[in-house]
């Protein structure tokens, strides 16, 4: 199978996943009891007023019609209007997504920068106490939820050392220094959990590399361990680590939602939680759909990048052509 066919099938999977995810979100929010009209008017609303509002919002139409209507609008980038404020869902999401996007990107970047060298070391020193200590430490890191890591960081760096603000947010464009100060602790909170998970993958990926023939050959012909690891190990282990990164993305977004709540950062998570508390179902539906779309999209991109980067798939295609 050539490279382009693999990419085509990945794209098809992406589209089908997106449709299925949209259906799941719609079903959860529209078939379970309680609807938008009820949320707007409250539980003690006059039945006539409720009926009138349902009529006005089109809630009387069959669920299939409402789903297709919503999906059609989503496809052209219209996620509807917030039931409570009347503002466009996408207009509400966009500025918040930028904030959460920074958190997730920086959190992932810090996690990778820490986890790759530490994981390589843990693989290399796996029979020594130091390697065991790294593994044990990553176990502890995995046992701490992101919000708890955040609270403990505030305790250490805001309460005791008073290095960073305990919470709040300033915009990047008006006050870059203040922005950085407010981002440090939330990003570390996300990165602690993420890098602990990653270290374990990096470690086992490299342990596998250490046992491979090409690595032993490189060592046998006189390559130093470090050079052999960097030259052969990083490229081989890198591919599987990138896949894990894609899979971890959903967890990272969710972690950001909770971490925003710890640090009172006005991002997508805060918007989502407020929408849930106010039962603004149209907004909830829009935010969850955008989040899931992002996760699926980035995973599809990772998959496709994987196909383009993997020399084994490339050579197979050349073989096909020959």
């Amino acid at each position: 199978m050539g490279r382009w066919r693999v990419i085509g099938s990945r794209l098809a999977t992406f589209v089908v996943s997106l449709l299925a995810a949209s259906l799941l979100i719609f079903l959860a929010l529209n078939l379970l009891p309680g609807d938008v009209a009820q949320a707007i008017l409250g539980t003690n609303a006059d039945p006539d007023a409720l009926a009138a509002l349902r009529e006005q919002l089109g809630l009387n139409r069959p669920a299939v019609v409402r789903y297709l209507d919503w999906l059609g609008h989503v496809l052209i980038g219209d996620f509807g209007d917030s039931a409570l404020t009347g503002r466009s869902v996408l207009g509400l999401i966009a500025p918040k997504l930028a904030i959460t996007g920074w958190l997730v990107t920086l959190g992932m970047a810090v996690a990778v920068l820490v986890a790759v060298p530490v994981g390589m070391y843990a693989a290399f020193a796996r029979r020594r106490w130091s390697g065991f200590a790294v593994s044990a430490l990553s176990q502890v890191g995995m046992s701490v939820p992101a919000f708890l890591a955040g609270i403990l960081l505030v305790l250490l760096f805001s309460v005791h050392l008073q290095w960073f603000p305990a919470n709040g947010y300033t915009s990047l464009s008006t006050d870059p220094v203040g922005w950085a100060e407010h981002m440090v602790l939330p990003v570390i909170a996300l990165a602690i959990v993420q890098s602990s998970v990653l270290v374990r993958y990096v470690r086992s990926a490299f342990i596998e590399v250490l046992g491979e023939d090409y690595f032993r050959t490189a060592r046998a012909v006189g390559w130093p361990v470090r050079a052999a690891l960097l030259r052969h190990g990083l490229r081989n282990a890198g591919l599987s680590v990138v896949t894990v990164l894609g899979l971890q993305l959903a967890t990272l977004f969710v972690g950001a939602i909770v971490v925003e709540s710890v640090f009172a950062i006005p991002g997508l998570g805060t918007l989502l939680l407020n929408a849930v508390l106010q039962r603004d179902l149209v907004l909830v539906q829009g935010i969850v759909m955008v989040l899931v779309m992002l996760v699926l999209l980035i995973n599809a991109i990772v998959d496709i990048a994987y196909v383009l980067l993997d020399p084994r798939l490339r050579s197979r295609e050349d073989g096909d052509a020959a």
Partner: protein
Amino acid sequence: MKKLSLVVGIVLVSIVVAMALVSLVWTPFDPTRVVPAEALQKPSRRHIMGTDGFGIDIFSRILAGSRIVMLVGVIAVGIAAVLGTPLGMFAGMVKGWSGTLVQRATDILFAFPALLLAILLAAAVGGSTTTGMVAIGIATIPVFARLARAGTLQVMSQDYVLAARSAGTPWLSVARRHVWPNIAPLIGVQASVSFGMAILAEASLSYLGLATPPTVPTWGRMLFDAQKFLFNAPNLTVWPALAIALAVLGFNVLGDGLRDHLDPRLREVS
């Protein structure tokens, strides 16, 4: 060193289970009774972990919180294992579109982390311990389905299974006699690890106030309450933080220890 994981895991998990059992019949004080006059006391003989901002005995609240931990863990992992394992076995045994369909469906569910699903359910019907457990359980189904499928594929390629199949043994018997006994240890290990993940998710949910109502003692909610006193009573944070971390660590390490114990091949490699 490998034995160490197993021992540490068993000890920590036993402590959590024991706490939950003890809390059913005894806590030093009522874990929900608000006593404003006794708020924010330091640890003492009377209150060995001190009292929180409401004057509630922290040790009693920690004990009672372990109940929710066990409840959510057992139900969520139960849902995930009972639904996910047969799905995975099915996908591994049955070739063709139905097997592929099951596999694809679980892949899609993978894009919904437990918390996101729980938030969705909380938005639809209001958050409760039940929505939390169900959401965590459903979100964990793909983990068990994938594992069971991988294990099943391995078993199905063995000669003795081929022999049984060619002798006309029906599918269900193959599944029961050959596949299940071989993958059961894997599922057991995963159950332990998933239990830890369920505790993490539940703690986050009750911290956000999206699952168990604030009046019921949970470790996540204790952290939420403690955060207000971070500057003047930081010790309030320490106890629930320790409880969550040690409980999750216990189940994770137990899973690791069991895996090494059951798989001699791994014992040699790492």
